[in-house]
């Protein structure tokens, strides 16, 4: 059972426009949600995160929105740039008392920024 779902395998956006990547989750116990960016032949790199007690977090061109009632989060990139072309993974984690904090990832969305 997939706890984190990214239903769009790919997304094409024109340079300069807004890119919106979506993610849904099923586990209400998640404490944090994160976005990772991955280029080919490289490991994922951390982009931005949000605590489950917040509804928005912003970092430069990147903003993540969390709607807990809908169990949905989205990543907005404004304006989109050619270097943003990559696979974006939505991930979540639950902070446990035992220290286990492995990430649960979605399948990823391949963002393509067109000139």
């Amino acid at each position: 059972d997939q706890q984190v779902k990214q239903n769009s395998p790919s997304l094409s956006v024109q340079e300069g426009r807004i890119s919106i990547l979506n993610c849904d989750y099923t586990n209400s116990m998640f404490d944090y949600f994160l976005w990772y960016k991955k280029y080919p032949a490289e490991g994922p790199t951390f982009l931005i995160s949000i605590s489950s007690i917040k509804d928005k977090n912003e970092d430069g061109r990147f903003t993540v929105f969390l709607n807990k009632s809908a169990k949905h989060l989205s990543l907005h990139i404004v304006p989109s740039q050619p270097g943003d072309s990559a696979v974006y993974f939505c991930a979540s984690l639950t902070v446990s008392g035992g220290g286990a904090d492995g990430l649960t990832f979605g399948k990823g969305t391949h963002l393509i920024i067109q000139p």
């Binding site: 490991g43 035992g98 220290g99 904090d101 492995g102 990430l103 990832f105 399948k107």
Partner: protein, 115 residues
């Protein structure tokens, strides 16, 4: 600051053979993770170490997979014997203390092909 190092980058073996992957985390990072990423999927946590102790290995197929981090620094993941379905990229990540809010930094991964 040097990132997470992994070797080899690529490995091709036949089914029923054994294989080992090596990971050296970022200096000073107490927590180390191994993830498996099958083509078209997001990374899946296999095992998490805190120093040289196992915090979470609930998703590690223990009949064929083993991992160790004897001195609390670098780590080895072994598969014996390999199956066709083990073909994947094996990602190592590390974080400072593994406290949920610590960023996980990923290495470039080892791409395993089982024929």
């Amino acid at each position: 600051e040097a990132g997470v190092a992994q070797s080899p980058r690529y490995k091709i073996i036949e089914k029923r053979q054994s294989v080992a992957f090596w990971c050296n985390p970022i200096s000073g990072h107490a927590t180390l993770y191994w993830y498996q990423q099958i083509l078209g999927q997001g990374p899946k946590l296999l095992i998490q170490f805190q120093n040289n102790g196992v915090v979470d290995d609930s998703q590690l197929p223990k009949d064929r997979f083993s991992a160790e981090r004897l001195k609390g620094v670098d780590s080895t993941l072994k598969i014996q014997p390999a199956k066709l379905e083990d073909s994947a990229v094996y990602l190592c990540a590390s974080s400072l203390m593994g406290q949920g809010t610590d960023t996980q930094y990923f290495g470039p991964g080892t791409r395993l092909t089982v024929l």
